[in-house]
Amino acid sequence: MEEIEMNELQETVETVAPEEDMAPAETAAPEENGAAGAPAPAKKKMRPQTIGNIVVTVCLSLGSLLMLLPFLWMVLATFKPSTEIYTTFFPRTWTAQSYAEMWEDCNRLMQGGIIRGFLNSFLTTVPVVFVQIIVSAFAAYAFAKLKFFGKNVVFLIMLGTMMIPFSVIMLPQAWLYGRMGLTNGPLAIIIPKFFGSITTVFFLRQFFYGIPDSISEAARLDGAGYTRTFLSVLLPLVMPALATQAILSFIGNWNDFLGPLLFVRDRNWFTLPLLVNRLNGSGGSTSFIPRVLAASLISLVPIIIVFAAFQKKIIGSIVFSAVKG
């Protein structure tokens, strides 16, 4: 797989990398498929295609409704009194009481309440992702463009560690972080990520490959050192890729559950997923449900904002990373 991937990615990268985005989705979308022919010529052919489009649109719309239904139920449920929660779809009596209750519950659970939860989640994602991406970019550049002793061996070992399931190392990690004194605060889910991410290195390496050597050579002939060349010439060229990785990494870290569950002992340092999970577990009765759902909904807001802002980039990157087989 890797070989095909690399060759193909490289080709794509060479043509695309310096450009703004790498979303081939839209440009490629008007291509062929099973039923629809080329749209431009032959006006008489428009008819069956329009009918097909209508049918497909209707089907996809119905499916979309199914996809969105749980979210819709969730939003509406937060405005219901707990007695209505399972019996109606639309609230009979609208109330925002669940949000007030949620606020109090969170305050009871941890100092600073849900605001603290947001801050914790923010603190354990945004700076972490920033450092992680930069560190990974340095390593990716070294692997792609520099020649140094033992490079291939180190790279193969790094690829090998990608295969190791998290479940194998997570318990010794928990012990190790405990011994290092990291589990009492948020540090256990911060510090280890400062050392870079292998997947990011692997991904960015392809982009650095795509940059012609002449560019960095020119910079170095002008007297710039390695680091200077990297930071001011090469890094800007892979900025789109960096941004995409940062967004994906942010979403992954923000949603991470098992890591914080194992490594964050102090509930004042709970991230939002942990906080919401704890709220959900704290009460068995139905009266708790609206406020738990309110907390869940609020915890989704940052992701929804990020997704709304970067949806083209996110979706493009998935389609892009799929152009491998």
Partner: protein
């Protein structure tokens, strides 16, 4: 793996970049004069990768070795590993036929059951991709909507499903109003299998669809046009041209999906509200986590390593198939 060739190819070009005499640029082995430059590049290279190397050594290699050793120790995760009493192979015996075998292999079976969603996801995803690959209005919106559940926090999403499928939850209420008796969505084996798989399909179809859309770009237009002229039906084209062209995507989705599925924890854990109530949703990773809570890290390690070996085998098969496919080209 042929990284070496690629690496060294691009490496030699950068090897002698800022030569004072451009005459020697093409030479593969640097002249002794440039030994200093070589050393500098060695240093810079290692400096750049050193955080990664240290990180892997400390946070992956050490835990990895520890988990290997832990399989033979009654380690509670509080004391040091070697302060714990050794137990020989008794954890292996416990899992292979001993007292832990029922729980472990049950969790193993659950893990496999929760992989049923994979082919379902892929089939639905394929049809969604065919729909969303058309040249029509709103396609981008559809892509966003179908992908949306995939990036949502699993905690929030699973809590919603928990409430929908509770014994007295919305779904059972709805069924009741239609005169259908309530089902045990979250408290019976079949119910859990269905609900978890449904959640995973809902969360995963968007991703499958996006991957297939990408794969569809490589389906040859001329072939389809030719088939149409020959009077082939849409179904025939799909079966004989589109799907075969998508084999790489299908394979990739299946293997990566299987890896993810084998390491599943979050969805059933949150959906069923932890393992206090029952174990009918416990996965292998859940077994590991559960024994962490029970302070049996040695047992947990044995459980985790069995899974790891299976994952290694799948990776090996994947690499073999990929290599073979590339040779065929």
């Amino acid at each position: 793996m042929d990284y070496q060739t690629e690496v060294s190819l691009s490496g030699t070009e950068t090897a002698a970049p800022q030569a004072e005499e451009p005459v020697s640029v093409k030479k593969k082995t640097p002249v002794p004069k440039k030994g200093g430059l070589r050393r500098q590049e060695n240093l810079i290279g290692w400096a750049y990768i050193s955080p990664m190397v240290i990180g892997i050594l400390v946070f992956t290699a050490i835990p990895l070795v520890m988990s290997l050793i832990a399989m033979f120790y009654a380690w509670d995760g509080i004391h040091g590993l070697f302060e714990s009493p050794g137990v020989g192979g008794s954890y292996f015996k416990a899992i292979f036929g001993g007292i832990e075998s029922v729980r472990y292999w049950r969790s193993f079976a659950n893990t496999l059951i929760f992989a049923i969603q994979l082919p379902v996801c892929m089939i639905i995803g394929l049809f969604l991709a065919l729909g969303m690959n058309r040249n029509m209005r709103g396609v981008q919106t559809f892509r966003v909507i179908y992908y949306l559940p995939g990036i949502m926090s699993i905690v929030a999403v699973a809590i919603v499903w928990q409430n929908l499928f509770k014994a007295d939850g919305t779904v059972n209420n709805l069924l009741g109003s239609l005169g259908i008796p309530p089902a045990k969505w979250l408290s019976s084996n079949a119910g859990v299998a269905f609900t978890v798989n449904l959640l995973l399909v809902w969360k995963g179809v968007g991703y499958s669809a996006l991957m297939f859309i990408a794969g569809l770009q490589s389906v040859s237009t001329e072939q389809i046009e030719a088939a149409k002229i020959d009077g082939a039906s849409g179904w025939m084209i799909l079966r004989k041209i589109t799907v075969p062209a998508l084999y790489p995507t299908i394979f990739y989705l299946f293997v990566t999906g299987l890896m993810g599925s084998l390491q599943m924890f979050n969805e059933p854990y949150i959906l069923l509200g932890g393992y206090g109530i029952g174990e009918n949703g416990m996965t292998v990773v859940g077994f590991v986590y559960y024994n962490f809570g029970e302070s049996k890290l040695g047992l947990a390690s044995v459980g985790a390593w069995i899974l790891a070996i299976i994952i290694f085998i799948i990776t090996a098969i994947q690499m073999f198939v990929d290599r073979k496919r590339q040779e065929d080209y």
